[in-house]
Symmetry: C2
Subunit: 302 residues, 2 copies
């Protein structure tokens, strides 16, 4: 393997690593330079002026994933259709010049008829598969919490299918801009669990959400508990709707992959509903994914 720069370049932030010939991280940075934070057509200069120098990687090839491959990023990378494995990703990288290659996003049939899409999580999912020997065989359900949470079905090392739930964004806009009164409040585990419970089978979400307010004005709960209740309700509704979609039932295992603090909330909600879970850090998985793609020749002749 050769040394390279890896960049998981998202909407708000980017995370970048300098990786040695042994695949081990030599240096890393997290920068508030996500594609929504920089100007149109600025990705190349941001990379040249802020990312390469920060990692002392002027002479290294770079591999990227995430929203940097969208219409807000460096250049639009086509979506690959599912099922897709690491080999498919490795041969469909886009070369944008300057020794930089970008992973394609993934697309699959969505539950509404419209296609569903992801950018960035595919590289983490490929990495997640690499992180333990048993993950390349059989059937696994992976949940990637976030602004747009992704649930993926992994079959024999392929990303077979996935579904998005905009749970994180619903939490953000409802806690900040709605009458639910959930804009502040300490973490309240009891209220979180009550929210998970109130999610029921995940149906009638617009009705269940209103219970965040009704339980307060009805005198059953303090307003300070609304934030945790709303979080539990939205996460609980996501689990109730999407776990059965991939055939998971209580006692099934669901693998969490993402930011540790957010995974901890999901872990609690999954346990409350009787699921078993494992937790892996999304940054570790992204790096494992980049390494897997490089090992397959992703940066050859760059």
């Amino acid at each position: 393997m050769r040394p390279y720069l890896a960049v998981d370049w998202g909407t708000t932030n980017l995370r970048a690593w300098r990786v040695g010939a042994d695949g081990v991280v030599q240096d890393e940075r997290e920068l508030p330079l996500g594609v929504s934070q920089i100007g149109e057509c600025e990705a190349a200069s941001v990379f040249a002026e802020h990312v390469r120098p920060a990692l002392h990687g002027e002479d290294l090839p770079a591999l990227m994933c995430g929203m940097i491959g969208s219409n807000l990023g460096w250049r639009v990378m086509p979506y690959l259709d599912c099922p897709a494995d690491k080999a498919a990703l490795a041969v469909h990288l886009g070369d944008v010049g300057e020794r930089v290659r970008i992973a394609p996003g993934l697309r699959c049939a969505g539950i509404t008829g419209a296609p569903d899409v992801m950018r960035g999580e595919e590289t983490q999912l490929i990495g997640w598969i690499e992180m333990a020997p048993d993950r390349g065989r059989g059937r696994h359900i992976v949940c990637h919490p976030g602004t747009h949470a992704k649930w993926a079905l992994i079959v024999d090392g392929r990303i077979e299918q996935f579904v998005t739930a905009m749970t994180g964004e619903l939490f953000d806009v409802l806690s900040t801009h709605s009458v639910l009164g959930a804009d502040e409040g300490e973490d309240d585990a009891k209220a979180f669990d009550a929210g998970v419970e109130a999610a029921g089978d995940g149906s009638a979400l617009a009705t269940r959400l209103f219970s965040t307010r009704a339980r307060v004005v009805g005198g059953d709960a303090p307003a300070s508990s609304s934030r945790s209740y709303l979080s539990g309700l939205l996460i609980g509704a996501e689990i109730a709707a999407l776990a059965p979609h991939f055939g998971a039932a209580p006692e099934s295992q669901i693998a969490l992959l993402g930011a540790p603090a957010l995974c901890a909330h999901y872990n609690r909600a999954l346990a409350h509903r009787g699921f078993h879970s494992t937790v892996d850090d999304g940054a570790d998985a992204a790096l494992a994914g980049f390494n897997a793609l490089v090992a397959l020749g992703a940066l050859d002749a760059s």
Copy 2:
């Protein structure tokens, strides 16, 4: 009957009428003085200085409903538990002095375990029952669209049960503050219908909502159609979740009650899903409700 002032005093606006001894409106005003627009403890002075004089009603008793009976309004009125009919409302008015009485809100068991609540719609529902002779007998389903839509089951002239869906508020916060890109765009009936269709059985709403974006970035629809699609999706999901809750199936009749423009959208979505519907203006119903309460003695000795 005696002449009086009627005020449907909501969160954003208030609508006030001077009603003659024959129950007929002599004058009316709509003012941007909802309880969220005025200061704490200002309801009495707003009423004395802006509403009474505007309607030349200095010497008349007044009957009010809506958020004016909440903790943001004049004084908190307790909630009456369902089932409740006009007679129950008439005997549970709160007297706040100055010849002003306020209707109580209603409360019933919600689908999450937390109670559900309404303030203001109860008076419109009571009025809706009065507006046609057949509505006081048998079983009727009434949908009241709005920021917090209410679906009510009317049985033999009683409000038997109701459910809230915060559809209007979800539309407002998601169209204004989310990545769905639905903040502008002309009415697009085809996109609205596609949204109603994409609502499916109303499950997995956080996933279906993401299709608003996925259909655009996937190249299947223009961004300008997102607003109508999102509207159809949220209204369709509300219908899919709540119509069965009260036992309605295609070919059933669902009565719409509320603002005419919003009812027109619901009417289209109901028809798309095979329901029959009638439409009544919420303002007409509020007035009929006030008149019914006054006829029962709501303002006696005031």
